[in-house]
Amino acid sequence: MKTENADIAVIGAGAAGLSASAVCARAGLRTLVIDREETPGGVLLQCIHNGFGLHYFHEELTGPEYAERLLEKARSAGVEFRMESAVMKLCDLGNEKELTVYSGADGVTVIRAKAVILAMGCRERSRGNLAIPGDRVAGVITAGLAQRFLNIDGFLPGSSAVIVGSGDIGLIMARRLTWCGIQVKAVVEILPYPSGLSRNIAQCLDDFHIPLRLSTTVTGIHGRDRVESIGIAPLVNGEPDLSREEIIPCDTVLFSVGLIPENELSRQCGVEINPSTNGAYVDGSLMTGVPGIFACGNVLHVHDLVDFVSEEAENCAANAVGYVKNGPPTMEKQLRTIAADNLSYVVPNACRRGVPTRFYMRPKVLCRRAELLVKKGDGTVLLRKKLQYVKPAEMITADLPAESTAGCPDTAELRFELRPEEEAKV
């Protein structure tokens, strides 16, 4: 069995892993990135559409171009890659972490690292996660798998499709399928508003007159060997109105119904998971409950823009570098953060006093204008931010400057509240 030592081991070579590893290697630390796939880049490689990088690179790039830039940064910084390698086990040995890695080429390798960055990303929720009734037939796949078939392997998944869920991947796939000659008959969304970005509704559905059926659920998938039709019905008071059921003939059903952070390794090694993000609880330096294990990107919480993933990963990596170079920080009591009115979560879950911190949060409500407030336990307002077009599909960011938390007592909590000011037109 081979053994290897590293300063920092990064699990996952997608946007988060590449961005994080470049920072670690540039700081002079021996950095290993481990990934199951043949080439680094993660899901970006199959996202051939444009729209990436406006914030981070200040230009509009396609997924493969964005990945290539990150890869170039990581390579030139001296990051070492272990591709086609799966991390089977992650163990906390105190000052060191032990990763058991399997690859076809090397068999089992044990890697010991002073710190670990979790950057495993997400996998897609599937039909099974939703318990959709009907026949178990071929032709039912997730939108991301269809994207891989079309953009990397070059297979057409069918000839006419219905997309369930209006997440961004599903919307992008509606356009991609149409441009490949596959007829997209409808996008069905159970919520009263779309889950994807507005621009994707405009350029992926409206451009092709693809109907978006809101507040609508699937009553069943029908067929003998292959999908022959899908039944849908509008929701009335949370129940499908079967008197208005509609059967749409199609041979393919794509599911775009959300992502699940892949935290099996994290759980196994004792990292506590936050049920409202399905990612780890992290402190102000994006360190999990296990000292020396950090998390960033979609494995921490699902982002809607890769630019935010890169930014968060770099911040996370800078903290991991500090941990390796200076040793674990002395026990410092951090301010706990609370997602209160109209917010489903806030990341990170704590804030270091007197350290400028960027917070990411997801709203529960749809509104045209709103105000975000960050309050101290005693009600003092530390930050006010005006927002336009708040919707659950779009993450909110807020920066809390150092001076606003420097004087807080260590028992203080930070309450994040969202106050809608004007209702949205749906």
């Binding site: 051939i48 493969p64 441009w179």
Partner: protein
Amino acid sequence: MKKHTRICIVCPAGCHLEILEDDHGEFTVSGNTCPRGKTYALNEMRDPRRVVTAVVPVNSGKTPYLPVKTDAPLPVPLIGRLLKKLYSMRLALPAKAGMVLIRDFEGTSVNVVLTRGAEEQER
């Protein structure tokens, strides 16, 4: 007076644009939060264009397809013809990202460039 609505696709903010068309065919744009939104709205009225991304077939077993994009938005009525042309191509390896595959498509001065490269297949 005619009213048009569009969602701006220039950036992820997705501003809701309102375009008023007066009787002389002049347009007034509101709802945009940056100048690019106004330009987008006017283009939507006069000459709608989109960036096109697709994959082209490659002469290689290991890399059957490679991704491409137009380097500028293409007039919407030409998209179908461009896609047809792309799907009928056969790309030889090695090919580098940034390589121009089609120059000045149908006199639009829009080029098609490769967005990912690949080495020749190992034997």
